[in-house]
């Protein structure tokens, strides 16, 4: 927001005075809290064809740089998913590094079930988490779009509406993906992921919900090679871990350019690490 630029200007004015070497000194206190615990994100969905766990490099507030070491060794970590019946080990990708996958046919994720994630990093750090996939799925037939005012009428933007799943506490996420689909072969090419918005149904039990933000959407039209340009609306019924983690990311993004915001403590349900292990069901349709 432009008005924040003004605050930044003032703070820059203030802080520029602190940038000079004569007003800066390395803090060598032994009590500086610092961590190298792994950062992990994993989202399980019964509708996914591949399940992915991602490890990110954690940079401690003080300490030696480990970028090369991490890039070279992250794939040596052991990542397992388990339910009551089986435990599977995910395979690391070579590129991008830090990504571990398993095909859905090798590890079935089902609504209502609880799963456990275990990670042992290449340097021996251990992390674990559990999540439960929600039972219900949003009825995509009752979802709709609503035209929002736009500064540029040639680029219409829309809010998304849907009906809350009655008689349960729900957390939702809405995502719009721009891309191309070959409706004959089912092949998809994602060109732009709008990023999502998370909403809780507090006060809207069984009622219609609407996104706070609007999304740019295009009607289906033909592209080349049998593909069509589409906007895919994804409506996710998520667990609370998904909601809290993404809500904090949302707050972080809002406050990121505000130098005077309170620090955002990003939610985590990973024991021994940072990040999130969450589950959801997905209903999707084309605009």
């Amino acid at each position: 927001m432009k008005i924040r630029l003004l605050l930044l200007l003032f703070l820059n004015f203030l802080i520029s005075g602190c940038e000079g070497g004569f007003l800066s000194v390395e803090e060598k206190s032994v009590n500086i809290p610092s961590s190298t615990a792994p950062t992990i994100t994993a989202f399980l969905c019964p509708q996914d064809s591949v399940h992915t766990v991602r490890l990110y490099r954690t940079i401690p507030v003080v300490g030696a740089d480990n970028l090369r070491e991490w890039n070279a060794n992250v794939g040596k970590g052991v990542v397992t998913l388990s339910d009551e019946i089986q435990t599977v080990t995910l395979q690391p990708e070579k590129n991008p590094v830090g990504v571990f996958r398993i095909k859905a046919k090798d590890f079935r994720v089902m609504a209502g079930k609880t799963y456990k994630l275990n990670v042992v990093t290449y340097d021996g750090q251990k992390a674990e988490a559990t999540c439960t996939i929600p039972l219900s799925k949003i009825d995509i037939r009752k979802a709709n779009t609503k035209l929002a005012n736009s500064a540029d009428p040639s680029d219409p933007i829309y809010f998304v509406t849907w009906i809350d799943i009655a008689n349960e506490q729900n957390y939702y996420a809405v995502n719009v993906v721009q891309g191309q689909v070959n409706f004959t072969t089912g092949e998809r090419r994602v060109s732009y992921d709008s990023g999502g918005e998370v909403i809780a149904d507090v006060g809207f039990e069984g009622k219609e919900l609407i996104t706070k933000r609007s999304f740019l959407m295009q009607k289906r039209r033909n592209a080349s090679d049998g593909f069509s340009f589409v906007s895919e609306i994804q409506l996710l019924n998520t667990d609370i871990n998904f909601y809290r983690y993404h809500k904090d990311l949302e707050i972080l993004q809002i406050s990121d350019d505000n130098p005077l915001s309170e620090p955002t403590n990003i939610y985590s349900n990973i024991k021994g690490g940072f990040g999130v292990f969450a589950g959801f069901t997905r209903a999707s349709g084309y605009f």
Binding site: K2, L5, I15, V25, E27, G63, A64, S150, T264
Partner: protein, 780 residues
């Protein structure tokens, strides 16, 4: 009608209960200027009774008929004065006291410091304005608030800023009163200087605990300041030129001995000086303020005072694009206005009344305007608080043993948390949205200073407060007690208890004293803040050495204190991705309520008079906060929980022409929250190119910053000139160039020659190096 009944009640009481007694009453003033003197001790040693002058210099003491007795008047910066009276009938007298530096004759005996062991109050610090002017200051700008920060029990905020943190309370929990008017934002230049101009002030008193029932509305402290009335005898003035600002004060009689005026103004000019040096790009950045006061005495019984404060800060930045096709104008503007009309009326020798009508207003505005050849875009955000107050206080002094005060206060608040204007002529948009809340705060109180005997005295009182906002109404009883028991002539033990309620909240997450701090009312969702404070201590006077020692321990419980939620946005405005969707964030969604407790011990050794004056202060304290929605509900130490805080202030008059002064402060480092690690994550979208940098925090405020310590020194050179006295002052702030923490930054080193990243380190950033200053003052 109500005051007439009260008057009749007091008169009846005094006629029935106190026959065969006489009342000595009157005013105490400063010799020369006829300025009324506050808190002057009035004692009759033969009868072992005493009292004090009130805010208007009035005193009254009722004693048995006596053929002849001696009355002793004493106040810290004035010469002790004794006068002999025939107390066979009621007498009204006028006493003039002489400032200690002036040569004396007649009845004056010697200078003497006021005695802390004699007062029933504890946790009260009166700071002579003359001492404020002698303490070294940043850029030579003398500042009341920064002088108060040097007192035990009072912590400062960030480096250089003027906020007060008293006994575990936040800067919102201080009631700042200037001539009965509440000042809501005491900051000039983003908090680096306060709005209180020492040249216009007569008295400064800080109460940290044991609050008398007449004070209310804040949890942690009352800073009561009185403006000077103006010289009733002759015209005089004072001017000063400093590196940052210049000031001018003029005062004199409107009708000699009857009426006077005072006008005092300041204006900063750092931008004017720095703009040419920066090639013209330096933004407009200045403040100005104006204090005015007039008074008129209508005979012996009536006095009228009209006083006002008006101050404003401006920060404005304009720029044009390289091809001049776009011009932008951005800025802040904020300021306070207060006006107080006071009427003093003497119903009798024993009943004094002051009635005030008070207006106070604080507002700020942030704007961003861009003009191109296609049109103009304007976004303006403003906020404020405005009060109208009626206040009436009675001092009823039936005997030497009792000083009863009672009164009522009624304030109509209007809170405007946000008013937004959004205009865009390019798309014919003109959107204005304003929200305000009205609330009424009332209180009635009664308190009695009871001097039971030579050894035991106390101030017991009760305050009933009420706050009405929308359909919600809060009522609270606030008992107050402060007592003293004298063990011997110079030593007293003291204890106090106070329950306080605060019906308005300050939303501030900067701690910098930015103008964007918002005042909001208690609501049905956000309850009033409450506190209970217990204190116990000793007060010892070393009379021969003019020294006083106080040692106090306190314990304070606070409930419903508020704080921003994690990640909260302090501007209550979020335009979101759609510029036309003018939406407002409800401030209540941004805050969370919790509780806190603070306890500690304060030691102060003070000397107000003599060639060497100043004080040594030490505080050992602990503050703990707990909010369900912060730090996972676990207790944490707030930023300004300082275990040890130490200050030394020394002012030494080397000779008549030179005064040396120094301060040294030491404080345990603040508790702050720093990220313990960071990474880049992409969330569910799995689009790594749009990843977000995330910092991870451990426990709230788990890192203790480096200790704060600083030495300031100054020398004043006085010279008597033909038309007055000139003073040069030369000083250095932070004399040994300590890099005190202003903020912390984690940074990874990078070696450009080998093009490799090195270690990540934590750096302490300071704000002020050693800052020399020089200023010139002239009194005429």
């Amino acid at each position: 009608m109500r005051s007439s009944l009260l008057f009749l009640f007091f008169i009846t009481l005094s006629l029935v209960g106190f026959a065969q007694k006489v009342t000595i009453s009157g005013y105490v003033r400063e010799r020369g200027s006829k300025e009324s003197l506050i808190n002057v001790s009035v004692a009759i040693p033969a009868l072992k009774v005493s009292t004090q002058t009130n805010l208007y210099g009035f005193f009254s003491i009722t004693i048995p008929q006596t053929a002849e007795l001696e009355v002793v008047f004493s106040a810290s910066v004035y010469q002790l004065q004794k006068t002999t009276l025939k107390a066979t009938q009621n007498q009204r007298i006028e006493i003039e006291m002489t400032v200690k530096s002036i040569d004396l004759n007649e009845v004056v005996i010697s200078e003497r410091q006021e005695r802390v062991s004699e007062s029933e109050q504890m946790s009260v610090i009166s700071l002579p304005v003359s001492q404020v002017k002698d303490i070294p200051a940043l850029l030579g700008e003398k500042d009341v608030m920064k002088a108060l920060q040097l007192m035990p029990g009072v912590q400062k905020g960030r480096e250089g800023t003027a906020g007060l943190y008293v006994r575990g309370g936040g800067p919102d929990q201080n009631l700042l009163i200037l001539d009965d008017a509440v000042v809501y934002n005491a900051n000039h230049l983003f908090g680096f200087f306060s709005v209180f101009n020492g040249d216009a002030l007569k008295s400064i008193e800080l109460t940290k605990g044991g609050f008398p029932a007449r004070f209310g509305g804040r949890l942690s402290s009352v800073v009561e300041m009185q403006m000077k009335e103006g010289n009733k005898q002759k015209f005089q003035g004072e001017a000063g030129i400093g590196l940052l600002s210049s000031r001018l004060t003029l005062e004199g009689p409107l009708k000699k001995g009857v009426s006077s005026y005072l006008i005092s103004a300041r204006r900063s000019y750092a931008d004017v000086v720095l703009r040419p040096l920066s090639g013209g790009s330096f933004p407009t950045l200045y403040f100005y303020d104006l204090n005015t006061k007039v008074n008129y005495e209508f005979g012996q019984k009536n006095r009228l005072y009209l006083s006002g404060y008006f101050g404003r800060d401006v920060f404005d930045f304009r720029e044009k694009s390289f091809d001049r096709s776009r011009e932008s104008n951005n800025g802040f503007s904020w300021g306070n206005t207060t006006t107080t009309l006071r009427w003093n009326h003497l119903f009798s020798e024993k009943v004094f009344n002051n009635t005030s009508l008070i207006f106070t207003n604080y507002n700020f505005k942030v704007y961003n305007e861009e003009t191109t050849n296609r049109g103009t875009y304007l976004l303006q955000y403003s906020s404020g608080i405005r009060d109208f107050t009626f206040k009436s206080d009675f001092d009823f002094l039936p005997s030497a043993q009792h000083s009863i005060r009672t009164g009522l206060i009624l304030t109509a608040h209007r809170f405007t948390p946000s008013a937004i204007v959004l205009k865009d002529t390019r798309i014919d948009l003109n959107n204005t949205k304003s929200t305000f809340t009205d609330a009424v705060e009332t209180a009635i109180y009664v308190e009695d200073v009871w001097r039971a005997n030579e050894k035991l005295s106390m101030n017991a009182g009760l305050r009933l407060s009420n706050f009405n906002v929308k359909s919600k109404s809060y009522f609270n009883l606030e008992p107050r007690f402060s007592g003293s028991y004298k063990i011997n002539e110079d030593l007293a033990i003291k204890a106090s208890y106070a329950r306080m309620n605060q019906y308005i909240h300050l939303l501030s997450n900067s701690g910098l004293g930015l103008p964007t701090d918002l005042w909001v009312p208690a609501t049905d969702r956000i309850a009033p803040q409450t506190s209970e404070q217990f204190a116990i201590g000793i007060a010892k006077d070393f009379t021969k050495k003019n020294l006083s020692l106080t040692v106090e321990g306190f314990y304070k419980n606070m409930n419903n204190i508020i704080d921003y939620k994690e990640g909260a946005n302090f501007l209550l405005l979020d335009l979101g991705p759609d510029a036309q969707k003018l939406s407002e964030i409800d401030w209540q969604d941004n805050v969370t309520s919790g509780k806190g407790r603070a306890y500690g011990i304060e030691v102060m050794l003070q000397r107000k008079v003599g060639r060497l004056s100043g004080w040594v202060g030490y505080t050992l304290s602990r503050i703990i906060h707990q909010f369900d929605e912060i730090n996972k509900g676990q207790e944490f130490a707030p930023r300004y929980d300082r275990r040890h805080d130490f200050s030394i202030v020394g002012i030494y008059q080397l000779n008549k022409k030179i005064t040396l002064s120094t301060t040294w402060v030491y404080g345990t480092g603040n508790n702050i929250t720093i990220p313990i690690a960071q990474s880049r994550v992409s969330g569910y979208s799995n689009d790594f190119n749009r990843s977000t940098k995330v910092q991870y925090y451990g426990q709230r405020n788990a890192f203790q910053a480096a200790p704060y310590h600083r030495l300031d020194v100054a020398v004043k050179f006085y010279k008597q000139k033909k038309r007055g006295e000139r003073t040069w002052e030369v000083g250095v702030y932070n004399a040994y160039n300590r890099i005190n923490p202003f903020y912390y930054q984690s940074r990874q080193d990078y070696d450009f020659t080998t093009q490799t990243s090195g270690d990540t380190k934590l750096y302490r950033r300071g704000l002020f190096p050693a800052v020399p200053s020089v200023s010139y003052n002239f009194k005429f």
